[in-house]
């Protein structure tokens, strides 16, 4: 996304309420810095994230989308993150076809105790997306003002 004529990657992070959102909170409590490019949307479980939400974010100009959930086996809803894993494997396998680099998306498992991991993951992901440059391929021109 262009901000004041400069490329600044915009990253949408979907975080599950029980593990990753709490992990993000812990990163905040510990004052672990991560880039302001990352904007978090809270969902009850990572399995709530419809692949459409991810595509929508890309259409509207997001440069990267990251999906964070509980570690496999630790899902608050027992099996939600397993659905996420399978659904995202399917979605990601089609991204190249849609014209988006696969590296712009990622699924990460971050527990409520892993504030440091959350911050590190966001730092690393933002850097990786910054290297890819601006996402232009899927941008819906109808959304341009």
């Amino acid at each position: 996304m262009q901000v004041n004529g400069e490329y600044k990657p915009l990253i949408v992070a979907f975080c599950c309420n029980w593990c990753s959102y709490a992990g993000a909170d812990l990163a905040g409590t510990n004052r672990s810095n991560y880039p302001d490019n990352v904007k978090i949307i809270k969902v009850p479980c990572s399995c709530r994230v419809n692949p459409m939400f991810i595509l929508r974010a890309f259409q509207r100009g997001a440069d990267g989308v990251i999906l964070c959930g509980c570690h496999p086996g630790d899902c608050h809803y027992t099996s939600g993150n397993y659905y996420t894993r399978r659904r995202m494997a399917l979605l990601f396998s089609m991204l190249n076809f849609l014209g988006i680099e696969k590296e712009r998306t990622r699924v990460e498992w971050v527990s409520a105790a892993e504030g440091a991991k959350f911050a590190a993951t966001m730092n690393e992901f933002t850097e990786a997306v910054a290297k890819l440059g601006e996402n232009k391929r899927l941008e819906d021109l109808r959304c341009k003002r």
Binding site: G28, Y34, R48, V49, M52, F53, Y77, G80, S111
Partner: protein
Amino acid sequence: MQRIGVFVCWCGSNIAGTVDVQAVSEALKNEPGVVFSTNYQYMCSQAGQELIINSVKEHNLTGIVVCSCSPRMHEATFRKTAAAAGINPYMVEIANIREQCSWIHKDMEIGTEKAIILGKAAIAKVNLNAPLTPGESPVTKRALVIGGGIAGIQTALDIAEAGFPVDIVETKPTIGGKMAQIDKTFPTLDCAACILTPKMVDVAQNDKIRIFSYSEVEDVKGFVGNFDVKIKKKARYVKEDICTGCGVCTEKCPMKKVPNEFNLGMDNRRAIYIPFAQAVPKVATIDPNACNMLKSGKCGLCAKVCTAGAIDYTQKDEIIEEKYGAIVAATGFNPISMDKFDEYAYNQSKDVITSLEFERLTNAAGPTAGKLLRPSDGKHPHKIVFVQCVGSRCESCAEKGKEYCSKICCMYTAKHAMLTRDKYPDTEVYVFYIDVRTPGKAFDEFYRRAVEEYNVHYIKGMVGKISPEGDKLMVRGSDLLNNKQLTIDADLVVLAAAIEPDKSARPLATMLTASMDTNDFFTEAHPKLRPVESPTAGVFLSGACQGPKDIPETVSQASAAAAKVIGLLAKDKLTGNPCVAQANELMCNGCSSCEKVCPYGAITYVDKEFRMPNRTTAIRRVASVNPAVCQGCGACTVACPSGAMDLNGFLNKQIIAEVDAICK
């Protein structure tokens, strides 16, 4: 159209330090739906909440956005405020501008910019919020305590005291846990058995408490107030209700060489055994791996000598199903394995023992009847070296030890050293330590007594190597305060092994859907304010399963967990979570995709009559969600191919609105 009020909190300087709150409230004023926007020092304070209530009335607000700390912190507070102001509590959304913004960014401009975007996303969501009403569910007035150590015992006694029935599930044949194995307790040096066993008897005699010993939790289903639990009662081949605990069978059994796990394998028991004299329930158990009769059908001596006729070789594992309103995890701890610590020669020499083994050696009911004798030759040791932090605070050796401090070792080592010097004044005692940590009531005084009155030699430094030479153990370590290397020819070495959560905790956490930290300790709902609750509603934590603890701390936490359980069981009805799935019957085509992914079985299908064109009707199969069972994960919403399934509170259009607001 909503009439939204935006309330930006300064949180003192926590938010206002890196976010220009005035600019945020100004910028959000012109968002669609917003009719009022303001900021205040502490929105969660009474004055702040009154500000919200008054503004709702003054501006006729229908929705509220609070830009403040994490919703995990104060969402409930502001929902109550909304209810007090007369609007539906689910018309409140929180923009997390503290944990996700002011605390991670140092630049005012960046922080303000991000706070505005987060605020916009919350406003976009509230614009699509609808009032929600939670359903109610009944509470089963019975509690389950998993683990029968001092933590589980105390929790069960306190819950029973309030008049609620409690079941204790314990994997071992007796309750009592680690405390039953301990000799004396610090810092008072009273005998552990003398203070524990009366409590064990209380449990046995309490008609509100049932003990499932030699049993395991097999399966947990349901939710707060309504857990369905399957308990596997393992076959002990002795009828519990008939056995009198006389112990004749345990004396006559010919299988004499079974390592006695209660004494940590330092002596032997028979194939049929009672772990210790004060066991509760005092019932014999046959070890199926050692018993000849069970293995080959040859023997049957115990059945012959049992005058009560309690032996039953045909007994099978039994599954008990019971409903509970609350579950308390009290699975406790174990010392870590010393197998990987080759440098301490634990596996090479019998005279290198762990502290728990030392407890058994000094216990009057232990393998040596309380005489401190070397396990190898039964001689009295004259020089004992204690090594602290074996596997604790071990950052560099994460693959074999633990990074955390095990908390109890400094004190019990001081206790062991003191007791040894007291009973055997001719014995020299050395303690190697990194730091001596004694933060507890009368703890430091206790440690100083060990040094000053009992002349225990404390040496600051780590032990590098222990090597058996003849009948001595050469302990090579460093003395950091005198800056020199030491070699001590010890007769006995005691390792203060780090403690770790019991191995049963991990599978249990999976069954309970309770979260754990990286060390497999249960995570608490809030580290400071909700330390005895798991984030999973209805699951509580007692004792060392939550983190290393000594006995007084364990008992206080156990009672605190009991108080929380009593608070829950005292309610007749619980209000549920209204953020549940809902099917749009007009769009649903009855394909069953949602039913297959639902982890709770909350979705069923009903035949419904629909009006069709030309005044005809048709009966169609459509999904129906049971709101009392649905937990609101949203798996079904994505599985639904026709987009008929949606999740209240996290509607598709709401999440998309948030995405759009962020990407604008």
